[in-house]
Each structure stands twice: as C-alpha cells, then as structure tokens.
C-alpha cells in the first residue's frame, strides 16, 4: 500500500460536523448518512466532511483526541516508551493532515496540534528505523511490531521487505561462493 491508498482508506473514518443546511438521510453504498439538521452535530465520513467544508456547508468538530493536552500526553508517552504506543486513531496522521489542511479554522490551536502530531510521528519513525536496523543487524527471522498504523507501515514496509530480500539473496549467493571457493582450493 502506498500513502495515497492509505489516505483513501482514512477518508472513510467518521468525523463530526455541524451542517448549516437541512437534508434528509442520504443512502449510499457505504451506508446511510444523515439526516442533516442545521446546527446539529452529525457523523459523516471524512471525505464528505471535507467536501462539505470546502463548500462552506458545515463546521467541523475536531475528534476528541485532537486536543493539545491529550496530544502532549501522547507524545510524552511515546517518547518514554521503548515500544510503539497505541495511537488514538489508526489514521491519526492522515486525519490530522486532512483536517488541518481544510478546516484549520474550526480546530483550536491548529498549529500546536500540527507540531505535536509531527513530533509523535517523528518519534515513531525513529523507533521504526532503530528497530529495523537492529532487526537487520541481528539477522532475526521475525520481529513483532504492535500498534503501527498503516501509514507508518507504508513508509518503510515496501522498502524494508525488498531490502531484506536483496540481503537474503546476497547472503545466499555468498555462501555457495564460499563453498565453491573452498572446493577450488
């Protein structure tokens, strides 16, 4: 999966909006949405929320975890722990990016949130790199990584597996070479 695909999946996440129009339930393949009452919060998928927001048809309510205090706690926790900590949403990065890009006016302290999420992300990516490094160094056969989000996996997953593949090939081709050499001698 590449980032775009993950983002596409993330757009199915439900977020709360306050519409400023009135519309009866709409029936979509993915499920029914609405009814939309002006002034009344309603849960819709992210893609619709962004679409409505762009047309100024709604006000977005940030997810509960998108709060400076909670994110600070989360970041500190992430930094303290050796392993990956569970994230408030499996699509936290995508949600943050999309919401902050399109509806930053509805999110209090948007800049701080952006920084916090970025910090968390960086911490996690560093952890991922470190663990990949140790994984390769120690030539482990398998490793367990909990609480990784798909976006994080997509950043290194494809590259890592390919790299491991090549390394394996190199290693296996190295051995016969050794043996042939020894035979030659």
């Amino acid at each position: 999966m590449d980032a775009a695909e993950v983002e596409f999946l993330a757009e199915k996440e439900l977020v709360t909006i306050i519409p400023n129009f009135s519309l009866d339930k709409i029936y979509l393949i993915g499920g029914d949405l609405g009814p939309f009452n002006p002034g009344l919060p309603v849960e819709v998928p992210l893609w619709l929320a962004i679409n409505l927001k762009q047309r100024q048809k709604c006000r977005l309510i940030p997810p509960e975890w998108m709060d400076v205090e909670k994110l600070e706690k989360m970041r500190d926790h992430e930094r303290k722990e050796e392993t990956f900590t569970p994230m408030p949403s499996p699509y936290y990065m995508e949600l943050t990016k999309l919401l902050l890009n399109h509806a930053s006016d509805n999110i209090p302290k948007a800049d701080e949130i952006r920084t916090l999420i970025k910090d968390t992300w960086d911490t996690r990516m560093a952890k991922l790199r470190v663990s990949a490094d140790s994984f390769v160094r120690q030539q482990e056969a398998h490793a367990k990584l909990d609480n990784l989000t798909s976006m994080e996996i997509s950043t290194s997953g494809a590259f890592l597996t390919q790299a491991l593949n090549y390394m394996y090939k190199l290693r296996t081709s190295l051995q016969p070479l050794d043996s042939t050499q020894s035979q030659d001698f």
């Binding site: 129009f21 002006p38 009344l40 919060p41 209090p108």
Partner: protein, 1017 residues
C-alpha cells in the same frame, strides 16, 4: 498613658491570642496558646493570676478558639473569658470564678465575648456561628441567634446606645443583629423556650405603622447580601418606640401563650391593613400553625426574591460576550467590550438567511429569532424610551426594518416571535402584539410581572409571577394563547409546576409546537395535552451530568425524533461564546418507577411514546398538516410495546394485568393478545380478552354508528353487491338466510347436518364481532397468496373464508377513520407471531399438556356461548346445540393427531399422489418444504375443476370424526402450512406419534386457537 512608653509582659510560653484592658487601666488580661489566661498588673508588669483554662496549641492558627476575653465596662468588676462552651466570669481582685454562663444550645466552643456598653449583658459568639446574649445579673439567656451559614463569629460589637450587635464572621461577612435585648423584656425573654430565629420580622413587622418604613429602610440598608434574615428587624421597634405594647405582649406570653398569639395575630393583621407593602399577608397565614404550636416567634417560610425576566436561550446580561438567543433557528451573540458593541446573528441553516452583523448603538439587551425576523429590544435610558426593533428579513419589500417606541416609563422585559407576529411584554404588565410587518395589534394586561415568553406558530406561551414564592420556590403562572384566526386561551393562568427551590431557566416550544420549559434543577417538563393540559417531566438533565456543578443548557426540544438539544456546560449553567459550544442530544426519559426492570422500561417507553405523539392530535385538531405515517408508526410502536408488556405479564402469570393492558390496546392488538393468550393456554385470559374485545368493538361501533349512520345504507348495498356474504352488525337478519343458502350450495349430503352448526358458530362470530374471525382474517391477509389453500377449502370451510374476507371491509367500515391503522396492523401479526413463538418456546419446558378439567371448561364454554348468543339473539338454538357439539367433539381427542394421519385436503391428497412425480422431476429436493412448495405451485396450476375434484375426493375420504373441528381449524392450519418451515412440520408429524391426551377445549374459536398453540410444541 504616654504612648511612647512600652511595656513588655513576659510569662506566656506561646503566642498570645487576645488581650483586654481593664476599663480602669489597672489590669490587662491575656489569653495565650499555651492554654493559660493571665491577668497582669499594668503598672509593674507582673502576673496577677494565671488560669490554665484553654487547650494548648502551638500557633494561633491552630487555636480552637481565639478566646477574646472582655472586662465588664465601667466598673471592670468582672472579667469574662470564653472557655469552651461556657463563659467564665472572674471577680476582680479576688480572681475567683464568680459564675459561669452557659446554654444548652451551645454546641461548639465559644470564640468571643463582649459586654454591652451598659455592662448588663454579655454577648458571646461561637465558632459555629451561634450568638448568645445573657443578662449577667439574672444569668438568663436572652437571645440565641444562629448564623445562617454557620460561619465562625470572630468579632462582636455592641451599639453604644441601641440594642444592636454588629458581628463579623470568619468568611469576611459583616452582619447586624437588631434589638438584641429590650430592657423591659428581660425577664420574660428568658422563658423563651425555643431558639430565637432570625426571621420573625414577618410576624411583628409593622406593629407600628409609623415604624414600618423605618424597618423597611433598615432592611434595605443594613441587610448584608449574604444573610437574608439574620436581622431581627421585627423587634427593633421596641427599642425605638416607647415600650408600651410589646412588653405587655411579652408578659402575655408568659401568662398565656394562646392569648398572646391572638394578640399578635390581631396586631399584625390590623397593621397589615395599614401597611403599604402587603407581601406578608401570605406569610402571616403561613405562620399561623407555627405560632399556635407555642412558638411565639415567627419561624416560617421566607419569601423568595422573584426571578428576573429572561429570554430563553440567553446567557446573563453582565457578560461582555454573551448569547442573546440560541434557538433552533440560529444564534444571536452580543459583544459589548471597549472596542465594540455589536450583535452577530448567525443562522444554523444558511438557506434561511446569511449571517449578519449589527452595531448595537441602542444597547439592545433582549432578542429573539425566527424564520422570518430578528426581534430586538432595549430598555429605556434617561433620554430614550424603550424600543422594539424588528428586522423582518423575509419581507418581500425593500424596507425590512421597523422600530416601535414604547410609552414613557414602560420597559420591554420579554419579547418573542411567532409566525407572522411579534409580542413584547412590558414592565407596565402589558402584552403588546404586533404583526411581523409592524402593525400594532391587540394589547392586553398580564396577570403578573412577566418572567419569559415563547412563540411558535400561532401559539404564545407566557410565564409570569402569580405571587410571591416562599422558601426558595417561585410562584409562577402560565398562559397559553392561540393567536390564529380563532383566538383563544388554552391555559388561563394556571400555576406552573417547578421543582422545589428552583426557578425557571428555559421556556419554549418543541419543534412540533408543544410548550415545554426547564427549571434550574434541570427538569424538562412538557405539556401533556392528552391529560387535560397537565405538565409531565420528560427529562432530568442533571441525570446526565457528570459533575455536580455541570449543567445542560437547553436550546431546543424535538418530539419527532425525540431529542433534547442542549449544550453541556462544565462547571457552569451556561456556555461561553468561545470556544464555540457544540450541541449535544439527550434522550427523554419519563420518571417512571423501576425502569431497571423490563416492565418499568416498557411502561416508560409506552407512555413516552404516548406523550410524544400528543402533538399529532393537536395538529389534526387544529387543521395542520402532518404525516399520517408518523401517526401510524407511533400507534404501531405503542401497540407493540403493549403486546410485549402483555407477553411479559402473561409469563409472570399476571392475568388481570394482561386484561388491563389489553384495555389500552387497539382492536387489532387485542385480537393478537387473545391469540397469544390462547397459545400460551391461558384460556380464562383469552376469554376475558375476547369479552373486552367485544366491548371495545361495541363502543367503537356506537361512536362510529352515529357518525356514519347516513353512509350505512350505501355501504350495505355495496357490500352486498361485492360479497357473497356480508356479516356485520347491520345485516344480521340476512345472515341466516345466506348461511342456509350457502349450505345448500355446497350440496354435500353427508355434511349437511353439521353444516348449519358451523355456520351458527361462524354467525356467532360475526354477530359478536368476534375477534377470532378477524385474527383469522389478518393471517389470511398475510398469506392470501396461498391460493391453493383457499381453493382447497372452498367446499367445506367456506363460511370461514368468506367471513374472513368479508370481515375486512366490515371492519374498515366500522373503524372508518382508523383504516390505515388496521392496514398497518396487518403487518403486525407476523412480527407478533414471531414474538409469540419465541415466548412460547421459552415457555415450552414449563407448560405441560393441559390437565383436563372437562367440567369447568364445559361450563365456561357454555357461559361463553351464552354470552355471545344472547347478543346474537339466538340463544335457544345454540343452547340446544351446545351439548351436541361438545359430545361430537369429545371423541376427537386431539385434532391434529388425526390431521396428519391421512390426507384430508384435496391438496394433500393430490400431493400424496404426485409426490413421486415431483421428486423425480426435482431429485435435489430433500426437504419436505420444498416438495410442498413445488406441489403447491403445481396444484395451483391445475384447473378449477380438477382442484374441485380433488377437494371432493378429500371430503369423501375424510371421516366424520372431528370433521367439524378440522373444518374450523383449516384456515388456520393451512395458513400455518404456508407460514411454517419444514422443521415445524416435522415436529408436528412427530407429534402424531406421541401419545397425547388432549381434551377438546371450548367449542368456540378458542379451541381452534389452542389447537394452533398445541401444534407449536
């Protein structure tokens, strides 16, 4: 004494708590944390005496009492020291403990003592807020006053001349006690048995009319904000006026309590007449019982300050950023800071109008918002009068604003908008109506000062002060007017019920137009138009709050869907404007008992559903449009709940309750209930229910007959034309003939003897409006497609079938208006059978085959019939036939035992013959159901003659045993066959092998249904 001279007194081992100079400047008394109280000679700084009186402590902060001691003024003869719960008095020079002053009411350590300037009285304050005054000579307690909030008294000071004591408490409040001890009443007041409460002013208030004003002024001037009644102003007259009447009164108290009471009452009553402010009238009445119960001082309810007028959905006026309105249309915010005084209007639905920004030069304080307009009003200022400003944005002309000036000295206190009108309530107790375009309409007087108003459509909802409330309660009244073409008053100044000690916080209409309001305790109440315009609490918002100081700020009520829209406010009663609060939705919950149980839950749901659909009736009555489907849905929901409750009560063996529940049901639901009862073999219940059903039908018919008398003729004709048989209330005479004809038509010699019997039964059903026929009908309708079944029955069970079909129009005629309901309810049977099935499955281990009680059953059957037949005017014949029926029934022990032994219907016979064909055509058919289905299709494909032939064959083959029973069972059984799954069929087949003793039950349709129920096993 030379001020420059310093003296140091050494001796205390811990911080000094208090000091007191001897008035003669010889001694100095001190109290210290080391627990000692010492007296020092000022001249040589030696310690004259030391008493270890107090508890030791290490610091002033930790000292239990600050021990403010005091010398007697003037002579300095006595030194008073507050020690724990008493005041110790020491004689000068000898330093002997002269005596102690104490009182039973002192429950906590005394903090402070003070002498009156005259030296006669001693006041002491305790750490729990008690102030006590003694007469030192007599050692009598004169006054006991408890601080309202029980804060520690930390300072006391006597008025130099009057009997007043100023006090301070540890929370920083300053208070004043008035007329603490009147010189002449010393003796008597010692006899005052009870605690002297602070609020007897109401009784004695205005004893002297000339003083009344003073008292009031005193009240106004001196009452500190925190304590309503700590001032005993009622008695201060005594100090000021020549003591004549009061002392006598006091002595009366001594001699004869009753007498004194009389006098007091008389006096206060007469003085009231003179008094201008007669608020206290009610108060006096309240105080009566208290007074007569030997409490000479008024200790009754205190009047509550009236709540100020408010706009629903607004936050307090003093805020710089506040909501003027938040309702279902939009939000009006008001900014009033240094830079800007402006009003922001925002609509939830931007399609109504775009957001607007107004400058608030006139300083508008109240506002309302509707689909059509924005209404603003301001109070009058020195130069300007109060103004009503309307922004009629939906106007089609170009001038969208109008302003109306109120007359001088008339301030607008509350405003509201309806559809096409605006209303303003003013301080002059006037309600002014305007059209939305600005035309002045009616003006009328309000019965009291307005609290709040709300408008919706044509309805205007006014809440006003009916009078003065007491003990924290508000005394509100409500008016509900309809300002449509027919102007009328729905609620004529009824009292508005509020939670105790609460005030009104929100007034409005639900989106559907039912008046609602919320009080400060968070209880939402709604007008129950179905119960004589009473108010029902529908939600307790405090239940949903997490913290004690959290509140929900209501912004709207919706009945369909049931939503209470409100804003959760953490730690406050109202939300701030920023960050922008989000609306939450609360569910309604009626305060029914035992909602943890299933029963309570369903009862709550049922009544909630009833209350929340009252608006439909209102809309219908007032000629508004509404969706019929909503109503049908509501009725279905209610009936389903009733059925569930019935099932539950049935399970709990509460049969009486079942009947009560059935009484609430509609006709169709009652039929289902009967079905359910007979299935769960509660035959007595079933019988009762069917009686009930008949009563209901009769009632319904009675009411409908009047309405539809004229149409009846037409209907009859139509029905007769359309249907072969038209059994109904109005065609009884014809029925017999038709039945006979029919019997002849069927032309079956061997059955002829039994036929009339059947018909009679069916007649009975018809005439009595027997619900069974209808229940059969409803299941018929649901399976009407099974043509094969019907056709196979044609020859024999014809009367039933006809009754079933013809019944339906009859019903729809009867119930006229409720046709839709019935149509709708036809869907119900399926659901409820599922429910019933589930229920009976649950029960199956419990239910044993009925223990036969033939006698009682026969008698009950007989009585059952008698009842019917008496109505049907056919008593004789049926009576004759009853025994016959019974006897003919008894041999057929279990109808369905025989049922499956040999094919009885044409279809079944045909199926037997053709089974091999079907199987060979469809080798993959392993399921019996599939075979039957396929068979049915094929059978249906046969021509009518062929089918008839099969049916005849079947009839020929059918033995006479229980033929009758079968016949009557047929419609149901056949339906079952179509409805049921294979597994059930097999079960039934297994059943036939089981030796089962089953007695025939009633001959009535009960039997049919019980057989149906048996088959369930």
């Amino acid at each position: 004494m030379d001020s420059s001279q310093q003296k140091t007194f050494r001796g205390h081992d811990a911080p000094v708590l208090s000091l007191s100079f001897d008035p003669k400047d010889v001694f100095l008394a001190s109290a210290s944390c080391d627990g000692s109280v010492r007296v020092w000679q000022i001249s040589d700084q030696t310690c004259a005496i030391s008493w270890p009186l107090l508890q030791k402590c290490n610091d002033v902060i930790n000292a239990k009492s600050i021990c403010r001691l005091a010398w007697q003024p003037k002579s300095g003869k006595l030194l008073a020291v507050p020690v724990e719960k008493s005041v110790k008095l020491y004689r000068r020079e000898t330093w002997s403990n002269q005596f102690d002053l104490s009182d039973n009411f002192i429950s906590q350590t005394l903090n402070i003592v003070t002498w009156s300037p005259c030296g006669q009285y001693l006041a002491a304050g305790s750490i729990n807020g008690l102030i006590i005054v003694w007469n030192v000579e007599t050692k009598d307690c004169l006054e006991r006053v408890k601080h309202e909030k029980g804060y520690a008294i930390c300072g006391l000071a006597w008025h130099p001349t009057c009997g007043q004591i100023a006090y301070t408490d540890a929370e920083g409040n300053l208070g004043l006690l008035e007329n603490v001890c009147d010189p002449s009443g010393k003796k008597s007041s010692s006899k005052v048995s009870s605690r002297v409460e602070k609020d007897y002013n109401d009784l004695f208030d205005g004893d002297d009319a000339s003083n009344a004003d003073d008292i009031l002024n005193d009240n106004a001037a001196k009452t500190p904000s925190f304590s309503k009644g700590i001032i005993n102003d009622g008695e201060d007259d005594d100090d000021l006026m020549p003591a004549s009447s009061r002392p006598r009164q006091r002595s009366h108290i001594l001699e004869d309590d009753e007498n004194s009471v009389d006098i007091t009452l008389l006096k206060s009553g007469s003085s009231l007449l003179k008094e201008e402010e007669d608020d206290d009238q009610a108060d006096n009445i309240h105080s009566l019982p208290l007074v007569s119960s030997q409490r000479p001082f008024y200790d009754g309810p205190m009047p509550t300050p009236r709540q100020k007028p408010f706009q629903s959905g607004s936050t307090p006026l003093h805020l710089t950023h506040r909501f003027m309105v938040w309702n279902s249309i939009g939000i009006i915010r008001c900014y009033n800071d240094e830079q800007d005084n402006a009003i922001d209007v925002e609509f939830h639905d931007t399609s109504i109008h775009h957001a607007t920004h107004l400058s608030n030069t006139l300083n508008y304080t109240v506002a309302d918002l509707s689909h059509e307009a924005i209404l603003l009003a301001c109070e009058s200022t020195d130069e300007l009068t109060s103004k009503l400003h309307c922004l009629h944005f939906s106007s089609w002309d170009s001038s969208k604003e109008w302003i109306v000036d109120m007359p001088q000295n008339e301030d607008i206190e509350a405003i509201c908008l309806g559809q096409g009108w605006a209303a303003a309530a003013t301080g002059a107790l006037l309600l002014r109506l305007f059209t939305i375009g600005g035309v002045q309409k009616e003006v009328f007087s309000l019965p009291g000062p307005v609290v709040s108003m709300a408008g919706h459509g044509e309805q205007l909802f006014i809440v006003y002060h009916r009078g003065t409330g007491f003990d924290g309660d508000q005394c509100l009244g409500v008016q509900l007017l309809e300002l449509g073409r027919k102007k009328k008053q729905i609620l004529r100044g009824d009292p508005l019920p509020l939670t105790r000690k609460s005030y009104l916080t929100w007034v409005g209409f639900s989106a559907e137009g039912t008046p609602c309001y919320v009080d400060s305790e968070g209880i939402v109440r709604m007008l129950n138009r179905g119960l004589g315009n009473t108010w029902t609490p529908v939600c307790d918002t405090r239940e949903h709050c997490k913290g004690k100081s959290d509140h929900y700020w209501v912004v709207g009520v919706h009945e369909n869907p049931q939503q209470l829209r409100c804003i959760p406010c953490k730690g406050s009663r109202f939300p701030p404007t920023l960050p922008r609060p989000a609306v939450a939705i609360l569910a309604f919950k009626l305060p029914y008992c035992q909602t943890a149980t299933e029963k309570g839950q369903m009862e709550e749901q049922f009544w909630r559903s009833v209350i929340f659909h009252n608006y439909l009736d209102y809309l219908a009555k007032n000629g508004y449009e509404y969706e019929e489907s909503t109503k049908n849905q509501a009725i279905r929901e209610q009936q389903e709940l009733l059925m569930k409750m019935l099932a539950l009560s049935c399970k709990l063996e509460r049969e009486f309750r079942c009947v009560e529940l059935a009484d609430l049901m509609t006709q169709n639901a009652v039929n289902l209930a009967i079905k359910y009862a007979s299935r769960s073999r509660k035959l007595i219940l079933a019988q009762r229910l069917s009686e009930l059903a008949m009563e209901k039908a009769a009632e319904l018919a009675a009411t409908q007959e009047e309405e539809e008398e004229e149409q009846e003729e037409d209907f009859r004709k139509k029905l007769n034309a359309g249907y072969y048989n038209t059994p109904s209330e109005w065609s009884q005479p014809r029925l017999r003939n038709q039945v006979e004809e029919e019997a002849e038509d069927s032309g079956e010699a061997d059955e002829v003897e039994e036929k009339p019997e059947i018909h009679k039964h069916s007649e009975i059903h018809f005439q009595g409006q027997n619900p069974f026929s209808k229940s059969a009908n409803s299941s018929d309708v649901s399976t009407i497609k099974s043509g094969a079944v019907i056709s196979s029955n044609q020859g024999r069970a014809n009367p039933f079938k006809v009754s079933a079909n013809s019944k339906e129009p009859a019903i729809s005629v009867n119930t006229g208006r409720s046709t839709n309901i019935l149509d709708n309810m036809n869907k119900l049977p399926k659901k409820s059978t599922a429910l019933n099935r589930a229920a009976s499955n649950d029960k199956s281990p419990v239910i044993k085959p009925l223990i036969p009680k033939p006698k009682s059953k026969q008698t009950s059957a007989a009585s059952y019939f008698q009842k019917r037949t008496s109505q049907a005017d056919k008593t004789d014949e049926v009576k004759e036939e009853n025994p016959k029926n019974l006897s003919s029934e008894t041999p057929a022990l279990s109808p369905q035992n025989t049922e499956n032994q040999r094919p009885k219907t044409g279809f079944q016979m045909w199926l037997e013959e053709n089974r091999s064909n079907i199987l060979s055509d469809n080798p993959d058919f392993s399921d019996e159901a599939d075979i039957i289905k396929e068979g049915m299709l094929r059978f249906r494909a046969l021509s009518a003659e062929e089918r008839k032939a099969w049916t005849d064959k079947a009839k020929g083959g059918a033995a006479s045993d229980g033929a009758e029973a079968k016949k009557r069972k047929r419609p149901v059984d056949e339906n079952n066959e179509t409805e049921r799954t294979e597994s059930q069929k097999e079960k039934a087949k297994e059943n036939q092998n089981l030796p089962k003793k089953r007695k025939p039950l009633d001959l009535s349709t009960n039997q049919k249904l019980s057989a149906f129920a048996f088959k369930q096993e």
